[in-house]
Subunit: 410 residues, 2 copies
């Protein structure tokens, strides 16, 4: 079961003015599951997106990027299917992504270039385009502003729980809403190759500043999480600002309003990202890996990911076994130039585990054991050679990870 | 159970003239297990070794490297313990490694610098040096040239089966013997951070050529295997040539004799390395990943390791599920510059699975399924952009991997 995610209640999710969501069951992979989501945007909407860096990226990623780059027209709709990734599907996959866009455009009476397609699910199987075409009118028929809860369910694959969040802030005396949904839960890895995340706000903000916000929000959230180190073919994070809240456009990056909005959107993105790790495939623990006092952020990240990806470390967390030498081993192979291992300190929460190249004199197995049994654990590595730091969130590696991934298609 | 390793019979292992082996039960971690091995070498022996690149490398690695570099005297003995890695043990660990050497040197009447120490087992726990000191006389007392089988057992940790091999060749009409032992079976990764391997021959060969042989043999064997991507703190491969076979010293690298010896030692190293993968923790399948027609060997290796390390790919193999899109995804995130995914071909054994960016027209799920059920499978990726290639051997990822590593210290 997911680690410490409180149950999501539909009433916690707030509508975003200017954006409506329609959901249907298109029976793409399973007969009775919501698997097709349409989001329709007011024509005042600004949009920014970041995509997977996987070279075998999916057809919808290629098409969505192209539509964002080429079109002079505002994006009017997103269409998201689960159950099939439309990745590793060659020219036919591209055609299917185009058809999906043009069919939805026809129904909504806009251009195909104004539609962005997204897919998630099994790779290298043909997208059942007929089912999607059949499903689109039904999804459009139930478009509603208060459909966020159903939308969060409609994008799930191996996720156990839906992931969504709303937040409100006050800008110039006006209420501004931010709502977002995300899905994991395997193939979670940094560099925006992580998952699907959609965050919308009714704030009014310039495109340039929206692009700035998505970059910093991604860096702090989806680029800090890892479940298994696999970088997906499909994943994307989309940020939409409908501009329907009744305040002046935010166009100055030094303004209080910009900072307010940036912070609030980052907070939503961070929560959505953490929920993905908490619901990582087979996760039973939520692990924060913080690497401090490195020369560069990059070297801190190398150490943090070496620890976060190590199957040996992850199985030790699963077993609540303070076999913490495995963490030292991971630090040691992270390939940091001239690392003086004698200067490195390793903490579990506030417990000093290792220093001077070995176990700390004050460390006891009993104290380590106690922390390892918690469902939330902080691994802190102090490199003692600079000012940079990096935090990564990950989960443990359990029987269930193997089970889920061995059984995925059955 | 290990994948297709025939049972090892003591009589298959041949003595190497000039080298004797003594084993005892020192009760380092378990009460009744052989866990201490001493190898004693004639003073004519040449020796070469390669060690882990892990920055947190173990105390015995530091000491063995120093003894090899500093000493003008011939190495006379190796001492190997299992049950404790003496890694992440700080200054005390170094002291214990020194004490181990000086104690054995005292018994053998040589210098401490003539002894190389090796350890394997749990990290960051103090080496029980008293048990080792107590065990050494017993190990020395049963030194015998025909003790290879017991030696292969004495270095096991989570290994299910002992790994050993002998081979004989004829040089200048004289019989030359090569015998070797190795141990895995987690933390198996390339760059000589893999395991313990000891190969000895009675051939007479110059030190320069022995160094050449160890480099090429390592590159073809231990640097081609991976179980979980974790790079250990302790691992080492040692090649010893006692010079006791009655032929002229091999000192010309263009000679037939050199090539014979190099080939034979490489063959032994490759078999020992493959055995480690076949007995990888929880392994149920032996997978060969061959990446061909790349621009450089390095980029082929990147692709091969991305595939070999992907938990998603490895669990699909465990499940015999031809969810082969996961292999495309791994190729895609291997970070190869300007990779044209449409030029990439993916084969499972001789079955063409993907080309032109998607599933091959001739591919059928039934054909893929059939191959996935085999215990030995070849994944072949043709990048179609150059002449280089790289082969990596790995295994699948099973419930048992998690179980073994979750339970390791209990």
């Amino acid at each position: 079961m997911p680690v410490n995610i409180p149950p999501l209640l539909p009433e916690q999710l707030l509508p975003v003015k200017g954006l409506s969501l329609g959901i249907t069951t298109a029976a793409i992979k399973q007969l009775k599951r919501k698997d097709l989501l349409v989001m329709v945007l007011d024509n005042t909407t600004k949009i920014s997106a970041v995509f997977t860096k996987n070279k075998f990226c999916a057809a919808p990623v290629l098409v969505a990027k192209k539509h964002l780059e080429d079109s002079k027209l505002a994006v009017r709709a997103l269409v998201i299917n689960t159950g099939n990734a439309n990745a590793g599907t060659g020219d036919e996959g591209i055609e299917h992504a185009h058809t999906t866009c043009s069919e939805l455009a026809r129904i909504l009476n806009c251009q195909a270039q104004q539609v962005l397609p997204f897919s998630t699910g099994v790779i290298m199987e043909p997208l059942p385009i007929d089912k999607i075409i059949t499903g689109l009118p039904a999804a459009v028929a139930n478009l509603r502003e208060d459909n966020w809860f159903a939308a969060s369910q409609a994008i799930m694959t191996t996720d156990i729980v839906p992931k969504a969040l709303s937040k409100q802030i006050n800008i110039q005396g006006k209420q501004v809403t931010i709502s977002g949904i995300s899905k994991g839960s395997g193939m979670i890895h940094p560099n925006m190759a992580t998952m699907l995340g959609f965050v919308a706000t009714d704030a009014c903000v310039s495109k340039i500043l929206l692009d700035k916000i998505i970059r910093s929000a991604t860096e702090d959230s989806f680029n800090c999480i890892t479940v298994d180190g696999d970088t997906s073919t499909n994943d994307a994070f989309v940020l939409m600002a409908t501009g329907c809240a009744d305040h002046d456009e935010i166009s100055n990056q030094d303004s209080i309003e910009f900072k307010q909005l940036q912070l609030a959107i980052s907070e939503v993105a961070v929560e959505l990202a953490k929920m993905i790790v908490r619901d990582g495939e087979g996760a039973s623990k939520f692990i924060t890996v913080k690497v401090e006092a490195g020369k560069t952020k990059d070297e801190c990240a190398k150490v943090a990911y070496a620890i976060s990806h190590s199957p040996l470390v992850k199985t030790a967390f699963f077993a609540s076994d303070p076999n913490l030498g495995r963490i030292l081993a991971a630090i040691g192979y992270a390939d940091i130039e001239d690392l003086d291992v004698n200067a490195v300190q390793l903490y579990l929460d506030d417990l000093l585990v290792a220093e001077h190249g070995g176990r700390a004199k004050t460390y006891t197995e009993a104290a380590g054991q106690q922390i390892m049994q918690q469902s939330e654990i902080m691994v802190r590595v102090v490199l003692n050679r600079g000012q940079a730091s990096k935090t990564v969130w990950t989960c443990d590696f359990s029987y269930d990870y193997v089970k889920i991934n061995a059984d995925y298609r059955t």
